[in-house]
């Protein structure tokens, strides 16, 4: 993943990079994921049942990803929002029980797609602030594990020793950390329930 000036960290030796290293995968991470904040906002505004919103977002991603495998859509943002809009309309048609007013502003949704992108050209400083805020949102032990891994570059074994916990627990903290950071960095918030 080129482009970070501060540090590049890739581990081509780790198996399982095929998906993330594919051109669609790289495109998806660079062009689509940064739209998640705006997309979630749009979905929340347009869909009454808040608990569906994450699933809707995931469905939009799947459709966009599948379309991109045939051809990379250009420009990206209108395509993502059009996809979201079609998804909502189909849902309404399928689940006829949903009253029409629950999606009252569906007709006016195009406006949302024209809002400036949330973080297309985030300055390094802004990015760092955002990362710092995300890090601060993690529960203490999870945050400590992420810091030791990401900032200090310690191995999992070293983290286990340093924190006085098993490597399995390190795994749990780092898994939670990954989950929450993805939410915090892309959706802007996380309501994950911590297991640790």
């Amino acid at each position: 993943m080129a482009g970070t000036q501060d540090m590049e960290c890739e581990e081509p030796g780790r198996l399982g990079v095929a998906v993330t290293a594919s051109s669609v995968g790289i495109w998806f991470a660079r062009e689509v994921l940064p739209l998640e904040g705006a997309l979630m906002q749009f979905l929340r505004r347009s869909w009454r049942n808040r608990s569906d919103v994450e699933d809707l977002c995931q469905d939009v991603y799947v459709r966009v990803y599948e379309a991109a495998q045939k051809q990379i859509p250009e420009p990206v943002k209108p395509f993502v929002f059009a996809t979201a809009r079609n998804l909502l309309i189909n849902r309404v048609r399928r689940e006829q029980i949903v009253p029409i007013e629950s999606i009252g502003d569906l007709g006016a949704l195009d406006i949302a797609a024209d809002e400036p992108g949330p973080d297309r050209n985030v300055m390094a400083r802004e990015e760092l602030r955002r990362l710092q805020a995300a890090l601060d949102s993690l529960p203490p032990r999870c945050r400590e594990a992420v810091i030791l891994r990401k900032i200090d570059g310690l191995s999992r074994r070293e983290i286990a020793v340093r924190m006085g916990i098993s490597e399995d627990t390190v795994h749990r903290h780092l898994t939670d950390g990954r989950y929450a950071l993805a939410d915090l960095l892309y959706a802007g918030s996380s309501d994950m329930r911590w297991t640790s």
Binding site: G13, L15, D152
Partner: protein
């Protein structure tokens, strides 16, 4: 570890559980005991649904993005946790007007003399680039451990194991020194690579000059210039001069490739084994001497064994952890 997931996941394939699963896979992949079987299981999971793929891409992208957190590090002293809390305090006091980078600058100014050692490492097949303050860069090759200790007066690096490529901004007031297996390499404004193996240290000069000497900076001192390759074994030190093409081939790992030019099969096999967990073994001494030409991706053992079979006419037998090459 094919039981995969410790959390009790509902069978429902909602976004939360898919994402939790993706995070779990993504973290497991980093573990030392990650096996071929795990990889097959991950591939199968990804193939199951594009929902799995996008969730995996998302967690991967977020985790990579968090690499930038390491930018916080250079300005933070010793223990990251304690240090970060101090940082946070400063952040709170100044953030409004100055922004993070300014605050980082202040933190650096407050603690210029406190030594802080950081450990960086790569696993087998790993590759990592770090940027130090002042713009110097260190690139770690496979299976490498390196410690960086910086203060206001000195920049010290300890290459404990493996290989690294250095691009150093010279600063006469703040020497850059690499300590490796009892030797000392002092930078005089430079690009160079150091490889440390059992009983042998190799320094390859690309640009600028370095001073090579004993750890106490006394005996066996030599100045190296571009094209020089120094090999130190025990008490013997030899310097040879190589052509640019050879140097580029030697540093092919930076682009993830191995370049062989009439390289003995056994040497080529040793190179591959540095990058891959499944080890190649040459079971025949005559075969071991056969020359190989070509350019391979460091992880593409299959392409290599294919060439060994088809061009050299040798037999390749897969024994699980080991792949044996014989006549």
């Amino acid at each position: 570890m094919s039981d995969i997931f410790s959390k009790d996941l509902s069978t429902a394939d909602d976004a939360k559980s898919t994402r939790a699963r993706a995070a779990d896979w993504h973290d497991r992949r980093e573990r030392d005991d990650w096996s071929e079987a795990d990889q097959i299981a991950l591939d199968a999971w990804l193939a199951e649904s594009p929902a799995h793929v996008v969730a995996y891409l998302r967690v991967d992208a977020a985790w990579q993005r968090a690499d930038r957190l390491s930018a916080l590090k250079q300005s933070l002293p010793e223990n990251a946790y304690g240090a970060r809390r101090r940082f946070k305090f400063r952040f709170g006091s100044f953030a409004a007007g100055f922004g993070v980078l300014t605050v980082l600058g202040i933190a650096a100014a407050v603690y210029p003399w406190s030594p802080r050692e950081q450990v960086y490492s790569t696993a087998i097949g790993g590759h990592k680039t770090l940027t130090l303050d002042g713009g110097s860069q260190i690139e770690l090759n496979t299976n490498t451990v390196l410690r960086v200790s910086m203060n206001g007066a000195q920049r010290n690096v300890f290459l404990d194991k493996g290989e690294a490529y250095f691009q150093i901004r010279h600063d006469a007031s703040r020497p850059f020194v690499v300590m490796v297996a009892g030797h000392r390499v002092t930078d005089l404004g430079t690009k160079f690579a150091i490889r440390s193996e059992t009983g042998r240290v190799r320094v390859t000069m690309v640009q600028g000059r370095v001073q090579f000497g004993g750890a106490d900076n006394s005996v066996r001192s030599a100045t190296l210039t571009p094209g020089d390759v120094l090999v130190a074994t025990g008490n013997a030190v030899s310097v040879t001069r190589k052509q640019a093409a050879k140097l580029i081939a030697e540093l092919g790992w930076r682009q993830g490739v191995l370049v062989f030019d009439s390289t003995a099969l056994s040497d080529a096999v040793n190179e591959f084994n540095r990058y891959n967990r499944t080890k190649l073994v040459v079971a025949d001494s005559a075969a071991a001497r056969m020359p190989i030409d070509g350019k391979f991706r460091t992880h593409d053992v299959t392409a290599f064994t294919f060439l060994v079979q088809s061009v050299l006419g040798l037999h390749v037998t897969d024994h699980g952890d080991e792949t044996v090459i014989s006549r």
